[in-house]
Amino acid sequence: MLDFLKSPVAAIQDFYVLAGRAVRNIFRTPHYADDIALQMDVIGVGSLPIVFLVSFFSGVVITMQMSRALSQYGATGQVGQIVAITLVRELGPVLTAVVVAGRNASGIASELGSMTVTEQIDAMRALGTDPIQKLVTPRMIATCFMQPMLTIIADFVGIFGGFLIARLSLGLSTSQYWTNAYEALKYNDIVQGLLKPLVFAFVISLVGCFYGLRTSGGTQGVGRSTTTAVVVSIVWVFMITALLTRIFVNLS
């Protein structure tokens, strides 16, 4: 009767097993430091340009939109506050997560997917290497390390984008904008702004690995896994951000 639930429930269970083994491997030898460094480069440095672009224009757009709404109350001077809160609490983490999901969940899924269909994963296991230790854990560590960094950068770049509009188009003074932005941020905002990317990173990297490793059906299968990994990780990002926001809103 509940047969239709069997496969999603089994998939979630498999995902937990993978996550558990990936985390446990952090505390086990061997550690593949080279692979971690390589993945940090691919995931972190590689995502920088697009994170820059996306967050800059978000800051610009928020400032333009908000200035119109704020001018009705004669409060255009408060725009720095709105931009800072929106970006640090929500848009910085989420936009970065969407970028990382699009670039890296897909990259990880297609790489591990091709390794699966060409039996490189089987060969690894047959030759005495644990693929979770060698492939999954380094990607998870690298993403969890780089994504909060990317988010901080995105926050700054976004607020800076907002500043350009505030200065050039709204005529606010430099100190007015930055002081307003700075004073708006509470401890709680910083915590949620850094906790979110950490959780997203964990989910995105593991979803990418999960769908990569369960690829079947040759080259076509790799394409399917890649698409699924991106869609699933983005859906999770939005569900998690709703959940975490709810928790933090209750806290304050």
């Binding site: 039996e119 060969a123 047959a126």
Partner: protein
């Protein structure tokens, strides 16, 4: 399964006891039982999708059976956790159907992989290079050391795969469809290499294939070390060479996960099962 379980006798390399493997609804292996002994060549024939690859991966513990038991070198590996399998797996060479060569590292690093990654039976670092070169010379690819697998042709990649499978001199080598997707001439070269490996190192071989010619070559030819080429085995065979079993070759035929035939080449050719004789080309 009874609780009182008799371990297989010594000299048993690989033993399946009523092994069943399922993927969701599909039974990829159904109640498969057989035993391989030292010095044996076992050729498994079967159509695509008959479960040959699954059989081979189950033998290595890469796939866990849903029922039955698998013994490798006399050890029950059925429910052994992955970490404890690495040691016993290092005694088995394997050539995967899709090659399984790591495409992020060079040919030489691929071939060295089994030597440098083992936890036990490690090879001194000074020996690794010469072992790798020997293995690549064996498959006549010593000039490709620094190339990447993607730069090689399909036949060359198979040969690198063979070099990697045998570099650690394992007593048992598993070959998954070594000739699939190759032209007949390259396929013969590959099979000749496999026979040469068997007869120079005295390994036991499990060869999974769709091509009857592959089994025929393994059953009827031996590599002559002194002369350096393959020659038909003489002995109790008839003039054409078949019927002879002095290479210790056993044939097995699989159909939809079930072993439908096990026996010598002569028995295979005399079979009346229409599925089984599909694999035996008619002789003129």
């Amino acid at each position: 399964m009874g609780a009182a379980h008799t371990a297989p006798p010594a000299g048993s390399l690989l033993r399946f006891e009523n092994v069943t493997v399922c993927f969701d609804e599909l039974e990829a292996l159904h109640q498969v039982s057989f035993e391989m002994r030292a010095g044996e060549t076992r050729v498994v024939l079967g159509a695509a999708g008959s479960g040959k690859t699954v059989l081979l991966k189950t033998a290595l513990g890469l796939i866990k059976p849903d029922a039955g038991r698998v013994f490798l070198f006399g050890h029950d590996i059925t429910n052994v956790p992955e970490r404890d399998l690495f040691d016993i797996r290092s005694q088995v060479g394997v050539l995967f159907q899709e090659g399984g060569l790591f495409d992020s590292i060079t040919v030489a690093e691929n071939v060295a992989y089994p030597l440098v990654n083992r936890k036990t039976h490690t090879v001194p670092a000074s020996e690794v290079d010469s072992r790798v070169q020997d293995a690549l010379r064996f498959v006549e690819l010593e000039h490709t050391l620094d190339k990447y697998p993607s730069e090689l042709s399909g036949g060359m990649r198979r040969r690198v795969g063979i070099a990697r499978a045998v570099v650690s001199e394992p007593p048992l080598v598993l070959y998954d469809s070594p000739t699939a997707g190759l032209d007949p001439i390259t396929a013969n070269t590959i099979m000749a290499l496999i026979a040469k490996e068997r007869d120079t190192q005295n390994t036991a071989n499990l060869i999974v294939t769709q091509r009857y010619q592959d089994g025929q070559l393994m059953a009827n030819f031996r590599y002559n070390r002194n002369r350096g080429y393959l020659e038909p085995v003489s002995g109790n065979g008839d003039a054409a060479g078949h019927g002879s079993n002095s290479t210790g070759t056993v044939f097995m035929v699989m159909k939809e996960g079930i072993v439908v035939f096990e026996g010598t080449q002569a028995e295979l050719e005399a079979s009346s099962d229409p599925y089984v004789i599909r694999f035996v080309p008619k002789y003129s």
